[in-house]
Symmetry: C2
């Protein structure tokens, strides 16, 4: 729902390099005490990282050592069904452990940030899968993948708002007192118009409307037909039916951005509307949680994640969203995470452990 493959900017390579920098010989800093698995389960792919288990009393080393990293397919049970989602998760964890030179018995904590967790029953179901795999002493946490993405920007702290816009989009936030809120992230049927899928679907619609006489002519027609190797807008109908995958549609976002950069009015309007939709999602979360304080000027982080926000083009969707948000909330501090969401998930596990041990001390 919220993976960042919509308009990929090659992030996975960046993260691969982070792994290479910390290979097995550097494991002395904690892996003897076992490992923590952090998983980012999106609609397009699932990433698992293995980091050393840090006792809750310890501060985190910087940079964080990544012992192993594995990538697999979709683990959103809404998209691929329960059995396939579960198999994907087990597979990707096994591979990350194997790459770390570790095994299941070393695992002390697991945190899964997975798309499709919209309700406590979703959480409970996935916890049950994990409980069948791991013995009772292993700490298990399941969160919406947006929570792991937030944590990737705040290095484990659950405070502020994250905005993800990749194939899907969602805004998710936490107040200091633990209250949480979300907006969007409901999928294409339920109108996630700021997502990569939403932007590209509107562009395809504009091509059809120009073709059948309902809408103005637009550069999007030639640009998109060329990108897809089609000769007429009529063929778009068969093309969309042939494969209903959202990522395939969302992959057209760069074409829309190119047309907007060339001042095509239809493409520009699509992007401006997407910016407003994304900013509105952040606004809804910030207001419900009161993140901006009573005077509206309070400081809070806004973590920006996903290909749509990271495109780094001259028409920069992420920058425009942040401008809009800071107009509303001057204290909003944009954060571009330096680690990937799977590492955010692993940091989340550490954060939860710290919290639990603090609560134990006070009880």
């Amino acid at each position: 729902m919220m993976n960042n493959s919509g308009a990929s900017n090659g992030d996975s390579n960046v993260y691969e390099k982070q792994v290479e920098g910390h290979d097995h010989c550097e494991n002395g800093d904690g892996s003897d005490n076992g490992v923590t698995l952090g998983i980012d389960g999106g609609t397009t792919s699932t990433v698992c990282v293995c980091i050393p288990f840090f006792p809750s009393s310890k501060t985190l080393p910087n940079p964080l050592p990544i012992l192993g990293r594995a990538v697999s397919g979709c683990s959103n049970h809404n998209s691929v069904g329960e059995t396939a989602a579960r198999d994907t998760l087990e597979e990707v964890m096994a591979e990350a452990l194997s790459k770390s030179g570790s095994d299941w018995s070393a695992v002390r904590a697991v945190c899964l940030g997975v798309s499709g967790v919209n309700h406590p029953t979703d959480q409970e179901r996935i916890l049950n899968w994990l409980r069948e795999i791991f013995p009772g002493h292993v700490k298990l946490y399941v969160q919406n993948d947006a929570v792991a993405a937030l944590s990737s920007g705040t290095m484990g702290k659950l405070h502020g708002c994250v905005l993800i816009a990749g194939t899907g989009c969602i805004s998710y936030g936490f107040a200091e007192d633990g209250r949480e809120a979300r907006a969007s992230g409901a999928g294409p049927v339920l109108g996630d118009w700021g997502s990569g899928y939403g932007i590209a679907a509107k562009a395809l619609t504009a091509v059809i409307r120009a073709h059948d006489g309902r809408g103005p002519r637009t550069m999007l027609t030639n640009k998109i037909l060329k990108a897809l190797g089609l000769s007429s807008p009529d063929e778009l109908i068969g093309w969309t039916y042939a494969d209903p995958s959202w990522a395939r549609i969302a992959a057209l976002v760069p074409e829309v951005v190119s047309c907007a950069e060339a001042c095509d009015q239809v493409a520009t309007k699509i992007l401006v509307d997407a910016v407003q939709d994304l900013a509105l999602s952040v606004k809804a979360v910030v207001q419900r949680l009161g993140l901006c304080g009573e005077d509206g000027n309070g400081s809070f982080p806004v973590v920006m994640v996903g290909g749509v926000l990271e495109a780094n083009r001259s028409w920069d969707i992420g920058k425009e969203v942040m401008k809009y948000v800071q107009d509303l909330f001057p204290g909003a501090r944009p954060i571009r995470p330096q680690v990937e969401p799977a590492v955010g998930a692993a940091l989340l596990a550490w954060n939860f452990l710290v919290k639990e041990s603090t609560e134990k001390c006070h009880s």
Copy 2:
């Protein structure tokens, strides 16, 4: 794509009664010369009727005798795949023939109006399926199902514009000189917002937006949750993922109409926008074909088909669309077909045969 199950008004019962009125003992008026099959293949169901074969020289009897009628599932190859679509067609034809007390050898002409025919290659593929079933002398015609729907309003004559709004929507038209044009009918990804699916998807989106703080409160929330037996808008996400069928979404149109009738502003705006979208589809076709003549006042039929247009409620979408169209084109004459689209398809076969024999006479 354009079946009329969106907001069903029990039409199938009406058509069943027409069949009952013409049972086997009345077949004297032409079935000795063989039969014609007319098929309406929509996204939700496929209907086949068997009528007597009328030589092209004869005028049609009124009312038209229906010898047999059969209903089956979806035959849109885009939705269910080629094999299933083909099997459905063969099955529904066999059943209609059997109910007529007839068999394959009696078939003289077949006309298939099927959704998903958007390109000559689609037409050719389906013609190939039919050619494998029928011997060479049988006349075979394949059209977009909108063409059969138009014919159901004009009793076989290909002139004017048809607007279908059921689960999907499309506008399709023919000029007297045979030129044709269409608008919409591209499916949900490509923005058929006037369709039953489009209306209901916007209503579901409005419920999510109200829930997460991005949109105004609306009566749609309670109305739709009650209709679906859900307790919170959060559960809508799982509900939409659980079954991606468009008809299931489109079935919520009556709830939207009820809320608009109770003056809910959000529901009213959704319906007003749908009316504009549908009218714009008609406008695009009329203008491209010049159906309204040079002065814009020329007379032409507008055939209105599908549950969204036939709902017959105090908030009447079909009536509003026609008002809008007649404001633009005073000569637009609304027609509510008295026969179903499958009969329209059968009449189309007759019309094509008349044309071919006329052309033969002149050549």
